[in-house]
């Protein structure tokens, strides 16, 4: 039956030739794990495509909901944590594997005639990979992604002549806003995948045309081994290792939360992804009028090195020991790139944006009011209102205005938008120190007296009133949010200190309030980013995966032994 179906297809479609093209190849010197790197890239790409499509079921590329839709995926969709974790770590691993693959091909001299086109298509694929990385980060629309996107598109803007044009093309306008997000999203999910598939087709067919280069030492080239199943067997083992590694990373090192993108928060010091650190850091060495050397010059020289390599290095010798010059060039290049990247990694960030020097209208603006309140009586909300109000009205922040409830004497009002944003506890700690510590004490443990209040002192936030506490992060945030949004008057005859308003008057942005809440939850032992619907607890899932793999591998091993014995 199967044979007949096959026959039927065969007469209508070139099944056999295509299968042969895909798997029939004699590898000089036989299969090797070193040759698995290309396959590993392909496997991770397949995973990126699938996990990327999975994310599309939940993610929306809008500035007001991108961050929340991603948080929703990660905390409230069963196995959403796995989907996003795999995509995030897959992206990092992808770049490492691509670089290793390039290094392997370089070492083997596989770029030489007649394989130049394979090399060129491969280099183009590397650029596409970097493009994925560049456009993927800002899609989180968190602080990190937003600011990295802001700065990197600005860098593109400094390029002479074409700069302004390029920046507008990337952003869809002057601002890093909705059009920029839509654009990055479309490029990431539609344009780059399409280009990648075309380039991959060229790369793989060009590669098959001449096959693997094999060892450079002539004696080692015989006997050869088949690609199928020998090399694919090794690729399958590599792929399995990569899969388990990615699952482990998603389980044990979930990507952090840097808080929802906040265009008003200039205290955030952005740093690019590690794979762009070299370009980022090298910019710093070219001040002022020499900047184009960094923005255009260095990347162009690097690209030219890769593009021209197979044409300049025409010596057919492939043994690395017998081509010292080109090896030296490569080693120097690698060392410089790694060293500059490390320096970039260690550097504190952009010199122009230290939090203290520039100051944030939204974060530092309120501190004096609180200090005064501490001394005598809390200033009413107007204290900080005008200060930050102007800045706010002209910003994307105004999208939040539709859900603001004013409820003057409160703690009683409705929670605002911040209650539904998964904030960053780390960023919140900083805000807490500036805005809350003067009254609530560092770490939320207070000794500050409050005369005339029923309690006689400012309430502790750590541990917080049991009425407000909840082990469910969302509920907890909803309970404390009204106090921060609308302020509150503590019970008592005539309390000297009142809780000031932070939300209604835009003294803090909703993003900042969300971060504060994450920190307050953290002080009380609750993770704001807790996974509500895991599908399966990450660690249990990892354990299950390891056990399943182990059992299957043992069974396969047993089968092999049994066959071997029968043979004897």
């Amino acid at each position: 039956m199967l044979a007949r179906i096959r026959e039927w297809i065969e007469t209508r479609w070139p099944l056999s030739p295509l299968v042969r093209l895909a798997i029939e190849e004699e590898i000089p010197g036989g299969a090797k794990f070193a040759y698995s790197l290309g396959s590993a890239v392909l496997i991770v790409f397949a995973l990126q495509a699938v996990s990327g499509i999975m994310q599309l079921f939940f993610y929306v590329p809008t500035t007001d909901h991108a961050y929340n839709s991603l948080s929703y995926l990660r905390t409230r969709v069963p196995f959403g944590w796995l989907i996003h974790g795999l995509h995030y770590w897959g992206a990092q691993l992808m770049i490492i594997l691509v670089l290793l693959h390039i290094a392997r091909v370089f070492l083997w001299g596989a770029y030489k005639k007649p394989r130049e086109l394979t090399w060129l298509a491969g280099f183009a694929l590397f650029l596409i990979t970097m493009g994925f990385s560049f456009t993927g980060g800002p899609l989180h629309w968190d602080q990190r992604g937003y600011w990295v996107g802001e700065v990197s598109t600005s860098i593109a803007g400094t390029v002479p002549i074409a700069g302004d044009f390029t920046k507008r093309l990337l952003r869809g306008g002057e601002e890093m806003g909705q059009l920029a997000l839509s654009r990055l999203f479309t490029v990431h999910t539609a344009v780059l995948p399409a280009v990648l598939l075309i380039l991959f087709g060229i790369h793989i067919t060009a590669m098959r045309r001449f096959g693997s280069v094999g060892p450079w030492v002539e004696e080692k080239r015989k006997p050869g081994g088949p690609f199928w199943p020998d090399q694919v067997f090794k690729d399958a083992i590599t792929g399995t290792t990569v899969s388990l590694l990615l699952i482990a990373l998603a389980v044990f090192l979930p990507p952090g939360y840097s808080g929802m993108a906040d265009p008003l928060d200039v205290s955030y010091i952005p740093k690019p992804e590690w794979n762009f650190l070299f370009l980022y850091q090298s910019l710093k060495y070219f001040p002022g009028h020499l900047e184009p050397v960094g923005t255009v010059g260095i990347p162009t020289v690097l690209a030219l090195f890769f593009i021209l390599l197979p044409f300049l290095d025409r010596n057919p010798e492939r043994n690395p020991l017998k081509r010292p010059f080109v090896m030296l060039c490569a080693v120097v290049l690698a060392v410089v790139v790694v060293a500059v990247s490390v320096v970039g990694y260690m550097s504190p960030g952009f010199a122009r944006a230290p939090a203290e020097a520039v100051g944030s209208s939204s974060t530092t603006g309120l501190a004096p009011a609180v200090v005064i309140g501490n001394a005598m009586m809390a200033r009413s909300s107007e204290a900080a209102g005008p200060l930050s109000g102007d800045a706010v009205s002209a910003s994307p922040q105004s999208t939040f205005s539709n859900l603001r409830h004013s409820s003057p004497e409160s703690g009683q009002g409705e929670p605002g938008l911040a209650a539904h944003i998964v904030g960053s506890a780390e960023r919140g700690a900083e805000l807490f120190r500036k805005n809350c510590s003067p009254c609530h004490g560092p770490e939320g443990v207070t000794k500050v007296p409050n005369q005339g209040s029923a309690e006689g002192k400012v309430p502790d936030l750590n541990p917080i009133d049991r009425e407000l506490f909840s082990t469910d992060a969302q509920t907890f945030a909803e309970k404390i949010d009204p106090f921060i949004q609308h302020g509150s008057v503590p019970p008592g005859s005539h309390p000297a200190i009142r809780m000031p308003v932070f939300g209604d008057n835009n003294a803090l942005t909703q993003q900042e309030i969300a971060n504060l809440e994450a920190h307050i939850l953290h002080l009380n032992g609750v993770d704001r980013a807790q996974i509500v619907e895991p599908g399966m607890r990450p660690r249990s899932f990892f354990l299950l995966a390891v056990v399943v793999y182990a059992v299957i591998i043992l069974i396969l091993g047993g089968l092999w032994n049994k066959r071997s014995r029968l043979k004897e």
Binding site: M54, Y72, H420, T475, V548, S564
Partner: protein
Amino acid sequence: MNEPRHEAIDPASPERRGFLVLVIGVLASLNALIMGIPFVRSLFGAARQRKAKWSKVGEVNSLPENGPVELKFRLLTEDAYHYEEALYSVWVIKYATDKVTVFSPICPHLGCHFIWDPKISRFACPCHASVYSIDGKVLYGPAPRSLDTLPAKIENGTLYVQWERFKPGTPEKITV
């Protein structure tokens, strides 16, 4: 993974080849399943346990006693990652200052909004012509069950309602 017995087996033997193909198939399937099953699972979503939330609907004293009245109220609704205030309505029938019945405005047949027809003193659904008595019993039409009541309470003369939705088209009232 196993003891080296390779010397016993010719690298090109069909046994070895067959075994490699088996391993490739098993590992590929395993990798696809270990991630594929969770991926598919994610699409089915989670069974949500909604938190019961009381919405203030109105003052009981101001309600008429001579028939059902439609009351509207605002509620922060949760639709995945969208949190928006929306206007909801319920049908309230006051029997005494401490006794009211609250009906969901959604017809249990197929989810249309029914109306109160004062001429015949009955609830009627314009979509498929189900007709209900004032206490919610089905009088005519395709409706599979009585009108759905909503949890309600009166505190200090204020009426609070818990908004819920029910599966349409089933004889039993099932909360969704």
